[in-house]
């Protein structure tokens, strides 16, 4: 399978804190990768480096063969890598629909299709329809139509999450980085939400990396797992292998797997 994203030897320190030590990973096209690890293990830093929000002290990141280490977030988004956030980053004074339209407007502008001197309603690149139609389409896909005209400020937590993720679809990304997509969502709703998100995302043919603390969600949806601990990747394998890895159990999963084993009546290792 083709390699779409590659991280090579990423290192990052913030003063006395080491957020990344020699982090390397090769992501294949159309794969779904779960990033696991306790808080502070370096998962979000990894995403921040890939998307250009932070520059690694050393190491490089390559996308479709091109070195993107030095690109700022807006460039990274433009070339096809989009991310969602642990705490949804929304525009408190705009409605859900307006969020979509602002995002689509930016996409159109970046493609040179909308600006001061242009006229009409061009099709949004990658979506094949004008912005208004694409916005409605995405809202339907994420079950947000009921909230269409509500301001982001008054949305319930789970809906804010969905909107945050829906925004990432606007630029038709080749790679999607979802930072804790199900956090803040109740246990019963987690699976349903991931189903909806993955269905919407896979329909666009994207490669997905998602950070997740719930191991059931990870084993259900990820084809591969990257386990982080203390700034390092301590396991890189399919879920069935990674989740029973002794280091992973010790440093990452521990309690979560134990609870999972108990629920399913398995003896603890």
């Amino acid at each position: 399978m083709a390699l779409v994203l590659e991280a090579r030897g990423l290192n990052k320190r913030f003063g006395a804190v080491t957020a990344a030590t020699n982090v390397s990973a090769a992501i294949e096209q159309n794969s779904v990768v779960g990033l696991i690890g306790t808080n502070g293990a370096g998962k979000t830093t990894f995403i921040n480096m890939i998307t250009g929000y932070i520059k690694p002290d050393s190491g490089s990141i390559h996308y479709q063969g091109r070195d993107i280490t030095a690109l700022p977030p807006r460039e990274v988004t433009r070339i096809g890598i989009c991310r969602s956030f642990q705490i949804p980053q929304l525009y408190s004074s705009l409605s859900v629909y307006e969020h979509m339209m602002v995002g689509l407007g930016v996409v159109l502008r970046n493609a040179g299709l909308a600006g001061f001197f242009t006229r009409g309603r061009p099709n949004v690149p990658g979506h094949g329809a004008p912005a208004a139609a694409v916005a409605e389409r995405i809202l339907v896909r994420f079950g947000l139509t009921d909230y269409r005209d509500r301001n982001a400020q008054v949305l319930p937590g789970g809906v804010r999450k969905l909107l945050d993720i829906a925004l990432t679809m606007v630029a038709k990304p080749a790679i999607l980085l979802l930072d804790e997509p199900t956090s803040g969502v109740s246990a019963e709703e987690k699976f349903g939400m991931m189903e909806m998100v993955m269905a919407a995302v896979k329909a666009e043919g994207a490669t997905v990396l998602f950070v997740e603390h719930d191991m059931e969600v990870v084993s259900r949806f990820a084809g591969r797992v990257l386990a982080f601990y203390d700034g390092r990747i301590i396991a890189d394998a399919a879920p069935e292998i990674a989740l029973v890895d002794p280091e992973v159990k010790r440093y990452v999963v521990g309690g979560a797997l134990r609870r999972m084993d108990e629920r399913e009546g398995r003896p603890n290792a």
């Binding site: 991310r83 929304l90 004074s93 407007g105 930016v106």
Partner: protein
């Protein structure tokens, strides 16, 4: 379309003002023209305010526009009001383009303070500039339009007409800008810059663009004010002048592109009426009005007209 209706209303109002011109007394024509001039500056402030930026030094560009108009007359013998307004816009836009590289990196109070410092620098330069009349300023050449010098009775009306025409055109262009993706980013920038960057847009570029447009509008306003008053002086760059513009913008609110003109008109009326009733309390009246608006009508007077959004 909301936008079209806005412009329609503005167009009708301006036409009415222009049409009623011959019937209105000189002082009314004067007030109306000054309101248009200050409204343009406030429109520029509106653009920046929507993105969350408050300029404490917009008078910089207002003054630049005025002195450009004055200099054209004094040194180049060009008294054509349209040319003066155009030149005012261009000079202001050019300076703003250069300064914008710096200012677009600042936010909040610091953006305000830096813009304030820059306007006070201009003030300081002008006060000491003998060539430009120092604190006395200079008188403007009587205005002409397309080479014709209007006579004493009709000059105010002619300036008003020219002013209205330019203001309408400028507002049209600003409205168009607000419809573009960059123009629509203002509220998003104000709420969450990081998200904007992650959407693929450059916040700095957007702010730089708004800064330049606002400057151009202020430059036109300054030139128009200069022509109307017939005199320019360094006070046009002083911090209290910037304060006036901010006052007008807050009074009017940022909901509509017409609001700044309404705000400027009301400001002019309060100023004149309050001053006539009691010269020692007009500032107090303004202060109280500003306080009332900030406390009770945070979206400005315009919010009295608008529909409430589904919250």
């Amino acid at each position: 379309m909301k936008a079209d209706r806005t412009l329609l209303i503005l167009g009708i109002v301006l036409l009415a003002v222009v049409g009623a011109g011959p019937l209105l007394p000189q002082w009314a024509l004067f007030l109306a023209t000054i309101a248009i001039a200050k409204g343009l500056v406030a429109l520029g402030l509106l653009l920046q305010l929507r993105a969350g930026l408050v300029s404490f030094g917009q008078a910089l560009y207002y003054c630049l526009g005025a002195y450009t108009a004055g200099s054209l007359g004094r040194f180049f013998d060009i008294g054509d009001m349209l040319l003066q307004m155009l030149a005012g816009a261009l000079v202001a836009a050019f300076i703003a383009f250069v300064l914008g590289f710096l200012l677009a990196r600042y936010r909040g109070i610091f953006f305000g303070l830096l813009s304030l410092a820059l306007s006070m620098i201009l003030y300081g330069l002008l006060v000491k500039s003998q060539a430009l009349g120092s604190t006395d300023g200079i008188n403007i050449l009587p205005s002409t339009l397309f080479g014709i010098r209007p006579n004493q009775e009709s000059v105010r009306h002619v300036v008003l007409v020219a002013g209205c025409a330019v203001a309408f055109l400028a507002t049209l262009l600003v409205n168009r800008y607000l419809d573009t993706p960059l123009g629509q980013l203002a509220a998003a920038i104000k709420d969450n810059e990081i998200r904007v960057e992650y959407m693929g847009a450059s916040v700095r570029e957007a702010i730089h663009a708004k800064y330049v447009i606002a400057a151009a509008l202020s430059g036109i306003g300054g030139a128009l004010a200069a022509t109307t008053v017939g005199h320019i002086d360094p006070d046009m760059a002083y911090w209290t002048t910037s304060g006036e513009f901010i006052f007008i913008t807050i009074l009017a609110g940022t909901r509509s592109v017409i609001a700044p003109f309404l705000g400027a008109a009301i400001f002019g009326i309060i100023h004149t009426v309050a001053y006539d009733i009691s010269p020692n309390t007009w500032q107090m009246t303004l202060g109280i009005a500003l306080l009332m608006v900030i406390v009770f009508l945070p979206d400005g007077l315009w919010s009295l007209f608008g529909r409430r959004r589904a919250a």
